[in-house]
C-alpha cells in the first residue's frame, strides 16, 4: 500500500548533470592554469627587468633577484585564482611591485627621470593588481538566470 501523502510534495534535491559538472570543473581548471601561466610570465618578466639594471645604486635588493621575481609571480598567481581568498595575493602585489619596478626604471640604461619612473612603476603596480582582480573575479560568462543576464535582459533596447 502506498503510504505517501498525496498532498505532500517530494521535491528531489537539485541535481546537476554529469556534463554540467565536468564542464564546470574543466572551466575552473582552465582558469587556474591561466593564473599559473600568467604568474610564470609575470615572474619571468620581472626577473628579466631586474637583470636589466646597470646602475649599482639601484641594485640594493633586500632579497636575491630570482627570489624577488618568484615572489611577484607567485603573488600574481595567487591573486588571480578564482577563489575568495585570492584577495590575500592581491594585498601582496602593489607595494613590492611598485618598489621593484621603480628600481628597474631608475637603474636601467638610460634611466628614467624619477617622476616618470614613479608614475610608470605605479602604473605597473596598478595594472598587475587590476588584471589579477579581473582574472579572479570575472565569471567567464554569466550563468543563465543570474543577476547579470536578468539585468541585461531588463535593459531596454
Amino acid at each position: 500500500m502506498d503510504d505517501h501523502d498525496p498532498h505532500e510534495i517530494h521535491a528531489p534535491p537539485p541535481r546537476k548533470s554529469r556534463e554540467v559538472l565536468t564542464l564546470a570543473r574543466r572551466r575552473r581548471l582552465m582558469r587556474v592554469m591561466t593564473a599559473v601561466l600568467l604568474g610564470c610570465i609575470v615572474g619571468a618578466y620581472t626577473l628579466g627587468a631586474l637583470s636589466e639594471r646597470v646602475i649599482a645604486e639601484e641594485e640594493s635588493d633586500l632579497l636575491p633577484v630570482p627570489l624577488e621575481a618568484l615572489i611577484i609571480g607567485a603573488a600574481f598567481t595567487l591573486a588571480s585564482l578564482p577563489t575568495a581568498w585570492s584577495i590575500v595575493g592581491r594585498v601582496l602585489i602593489p607595494v613590492p611591485t611598485f618598489y621593484i619596478y621603480l628600481t628597474v626604471l631608475l637603474g636601467k640604461n638610460p634611466p628614467l627621470p624619477f617622476y616618470a619612473a614613479f608614475v610608470v612603476a605605479g602604473l605597473y603596480s596598478a595594472a598587475l593588481t587590476a588584471l589579477s582582480r579581473d582574472l579572479a573575479e570575472r565569471p567567464t560568462r554569466p550563468k543563465l538566470g543570474s543577476s547579470r543576464t536578468r539585468t541585461r535582459r531588463a535593459t531596454p533596447g
Binding site: L37, I41, V42, A44, Y45, T46, L47, G48, A49, L50, S51, E52, V65, P66, Y101, V104, L105, K108, N109, P110, L112, P113, A116, V120, L123, Y124, A127, D134, R138
Partner: protein
C-alpha cells in the same frame, strides 16, 4: 590603369584586345610566368617603399640614427618610448574607423581569397591594410610588416589577373605569386618566399604553379638586391656546430616552441576579448594597446617594431639567461597586445625574435642538465639553438614549416643549421597540429567564423549552391487533391515526384507519382492523396551549398527534395535530385583537381 582604357576603344579593337589578352594568358603557361615576373618587379619595389617609409618613421618619431634599426637601438628620450606607440594606436584606430565607414567589408587576405573567392582581392583594401600596417609598425607597435607585403603583393597580382580575366586557377596562382614576391623581397630569400606561397596561399604544390611562383619570388628578390643591396634580416659570423645529441634536444625544443606559439596565438584572442568586454570605442583600443606596448618598452626596448634589429642583437651577443627569459615574456606580451588591441600587422617577425630568444634561453638550463648527467664535455652551440627555436616557433605560428627551414638555410647558408631547424620545426608543427589545430592565420579565421584551414580552393563548394543546381519547374498539387484527380493530372511517365502545397502555398510534402497508381488505391479514388506524402518536414534552401544538400539527402533518405524560398514562407521554388547534385559535385571536384594539375578536365574541352 591602362587596361581600363580598353573600354574606350571601338568595338572591333576592344574585341581584338580581349581575344589577344585571353588567348595569350589563358592558353599559355609561359605568358603566366612572364606576367608573374613583371608584377613581382612592381611588388619588389613596393616592399622597398614600405621598408623605407617605416624606417623614416622610426628615425623621425624615435630619433634613432639612420643606419640603426629600432629594436636594437637605444631611444634617447623616455617619453618617445612611452607615448609614440600610444599616438600610433590613436592614429591607427581613427584611420581604421574612417576606412570602415568608407569600406565596411572585412578585408579579404590572400589565404581567404584563394580558399573562398577564387583569388579575387581588392587592391584598394590591400593598400588600406598596407597603410595601417605601416602606421602600426612605424609607430613602434610590436608587429611585422610581412602582412603588408603579402597583402599588397597578392592584391596587386589579383587585380592584374582580374583585368586580364584569367581563369580561376590562374588567378589563384597569381595571388600566390604576389605573396611569394612579397615574402621573398622582405627576407631576401626566394625559396622561402616560394614555399610560403605553396604552403599557405595556394595550399598545395603542383608542377603548374612551380614556374610562375618561383619566377615571382626570384624577380622581387633580384629587384631588392639591385636597389637595396644583398642585406638580409640577420647575418652570422661563425659556423654552426651540431652533434648527434643536439638533434634529440632539438626535438624537445620543438615541443616547448609549440607551447609558446599556442600561448601567443590564444593570447591575442584573449586580449581581444578582454578589450571587447570593456566596451571601449573602437578607436580607443589600439591607443590603449600602444600605451601598454610603450610601458613594456620602457624596460625592454627590443619589443618595439618588427624586431629584426633585436634578432641580430641576440644572435651576436650572449645575453644573460634572466634577460632572455624576460625578453620572451615581454615580446610575447607586446606582440599579443599589439595585434589583440587592433594594430594591423602579423606575428611573422615577432615569432622569429620570440623563437630565437627562446632557443637562446634554453641553452643554459640544458647545459646545466647535461653537466649533471655526466656529459661535462658537451658544449651546446648557442646560435644553433637560437636558429632552431626561431624556426620552430615561427613555423608553429605561421603554419609554414618548409618556409622556415628554407628561410634559415637561405639566411645562414648553413646546411647543418637547416637540418637542425628541420627537426625542431617538424616537431613543433606536429604538436601544434595535434593539440591546437591552427596556425595564426587559420586561428583568426576560426575566431571570425570563417571555415577554412588554408589556401585550398573550397570556394567552388560555396558557389555550387542549391539555387544554381535546382530545377525551377516543380510540379505542385494542392493538399486534399483526390487520387482520381491526381491520376488525371499526373499520368504515369509524367512529372515525378509531385510537391503538395497547402492553401497558402506552403510546402506540405512529396508524393511519388508511381505511388498514386498503386492498384490498392483503385477502390479508393475519392480518398485524398495526402496520406501518400513523405518528407513534409525536409526541404532545401536556395543559398545552401552542395555539401549541405548532400547531407540533407542522406539524413532524409530521400532522392528528391523540394527547394523552398525561405524557412518561414516555405514557398516551393524548385526541386533537386540527389543524383544530379552528386554528378555536379563530382564534376566540380574533377575540374578543381584538373586545374591544380594543369590537365584538361574529364568534363571540359579536350
Amino acid at each position: 590603369m591602362f587596361l581600363n582604357g580598353t573600354s574606350r576603344l571601338s568595338l572591333p579593337w576592344r574585341s581584338l584586345w580581349e581575344r589577344l589578352a585571353r588567348q595569350s594568358v589563358r592558353d599559355n603557361e609561359v605568358s603566366l610566368i612572364v606576367i608573374s615576373a613583371l608584377i613581382s618587379i612592381a611588388i619588389g619595389l613596393g616592399v622597398i617603399v614600405l621598408q623605407v617609409l617605416v624606417q623614416q618613421l622610426h628615425q623621425i618619431l624615435f630619433a634613432i640614427a639612420p643606419n640603426e634599426r629600432l629594436s636594437e637601438s637605444t631611444v634617447p628620450d623616455w617619453w618617445r618610448v612611452l607615448l609614440v606607440p600610444c599616438a600610433g594606436g590613436l592614429l591607427s584606430g581613427v584611420a581604421t574607423v574612417l576606412i570602415r565607414r568608407w569600406r565596411p567589408r572585412e578585408i579579404v587576405d590572400a589565404i581567404e581569397a584563394n580558399a573562398l573567392y577564387g583569388g579575387k582581392m581588392s587592391l584598394i583594401d590591400s593598400a588600406n591594410l598596407a597603410l595601417l600596417t605601416v602606421i602600426s609598425s612605424g609607430f613602434g607597435a610590436s608587429v611585422g610588416l610581412e602582412a603588408a607585403y603579402t597583402q599588397l603583393g597578392s592584391g596587386m597580382a589579383s587585380r592584374f589577373g582580374q583585368l586580364l580575366k584569367v581563369r580561376r586557377s590562374d588567378l589563384r596562382t597569381l595571388v600566390g605569386c604576389g605573396a611569394a614576391a612579397g615574402i621573398a623581397a622582405a627576407f631576401n630569400a626566394p625559396l622561402a618566399g616560394a614555399f610560403y606561397a605553396f604552403e599557405l596561399v595556394i595550399g598545395s604544390y603542383s608542377p603548374t604553379v612551380l614556374a610562375p611562383v618561383s619566377m615571382a619570388a626570384l624577380s622581387s628578390t633580384l629587384v631588392l638586391r639591385a636597389l637595396y643591396g644583398n642585406e638580409s634580416i640577420f647575418g652570422l659570423d661563425a659556423q654552426v656546430h651540431i652533434t648527434g645529441t643536439d638533434f634529440a634536444l632539438f626535438a624537445g625544443l620543438g615541443v616547448l616552441a609549440a607551447v609558446i606559439a599556442i600561448a601567443t596565438m590564444t593570447g591575442v584572442t584573449r586580449i581581444e576579448r578582454f578589450l571587447r568586454r570593456q566596451e571601449l570605442p573602437r578607436w580607443v583600443s589600439p591607443a590603449l594597446g600602444g600605451f601598454v606596448v610603450g610601458m613594456i618598452a620602457t624596460i625592454y626596448q627590443e619589443v618595439l617594431g618588427s624586431g629584426h634589429g633585436a634578432l641580430q642583437l641576440v644572435l651576436d651577443n650572449s645575453l644573460p639567461w634572466a634577460v632572455l627569459l624576460g625578453l620572451i615574456a615581454s615580446k610575447g606580451l607586446a606582440s599579443a597586445v599589439s595585434v589583440g588591441a587592433g594594430f594591423r600587422g602579423g606575428l611573422f617577425s615577432s615569432s622569429l625574435l620570440l623563437g630565437a630568444v627562446f632557443g637562446g634561453a634554453t641553452v643554459a638550463p640544458l647545459q646545466g642538465a647535461l653537466h649533471l648527467m655526466g656529459f661535462a664535455g658537451l658544449e651546446l652551440d648557442r646560435v644553433a639553438y637560437m636558429l632552431v627555436g626561431m624556426g620552430a616557433v615561427a613555423a608553429a605560428v605561421v603554419g609554414a614549416p618548409l618556409t622556415m627551414i628554407f628561410l634559415v638555410l637561405e639566411l645562414t647558408g648553413s646546411f647543418p643549421a637547416a637540418l637542425g631547424v628541420m627537426v625542431g620545426v617538424i616537431i613543433a608543427s606536429l604538436v601544434v597540429r595535434q593539440t591546437f589545430g591552427y596556425s595564426f592565420a587559420t586561428w583568426r579565421f576560426h575566431v571570425r567564423g570563417v571555415p577554412i584551414r588554408g589556401g585550398f580552393d573550397v570556394g567552388w563548394i560555396e558557389d555550387l549552391s542549391v539555387g544554381t543546381m535546382m530545377r525551377r519547374d516543380p510540379p505542385t498539387a494542392p493538399l486534399g487533391t483526390t487520387v482520381a484527380k491526381f491520376r488525371q493530372r499526373f499520368p504515369l511517365g509524367g512529372p515525378n515526384p509531385v510537391f503538395l502545397v497547402d492553401g497558402t502555398g506552403r510546402y506540405a510534402g512529396i508524393v511519388a507519382t508511381a505511388d498514386a497508381y498503386n492498384p490498392d488505391l483503385d477502390q479508393k479514388l475519392d480518398q485524398p492523396i495526402d496520406e501518400l506524402r513523405t518528407t513534409s518536414d525536409q526541404f532545401l534552401l536556395p543559398e545552401q551549398n552542395v555539401r549541405t544538400a548532400l547531407r540533407r539527402f542522406s539524413s532524409s533518405e530521400s532522392e528528391t527534395l523540394a527547394v523552398v524560398s525561405d524557412a518561414k514562407t516555405l514557398h516551393v521554388v524548385g526541386f533537386l535530385t540527389e543524383g544530379y547534385a552528386l554528378r555536379r559535385y563530382s564534376q566540380e571536384l574533377e575540374r578543381s583537381r584538373a586545374e591544380e594539375l594543369g590537365e584538361h578536365s574529364l568534363y571540359g574541352p579536350a
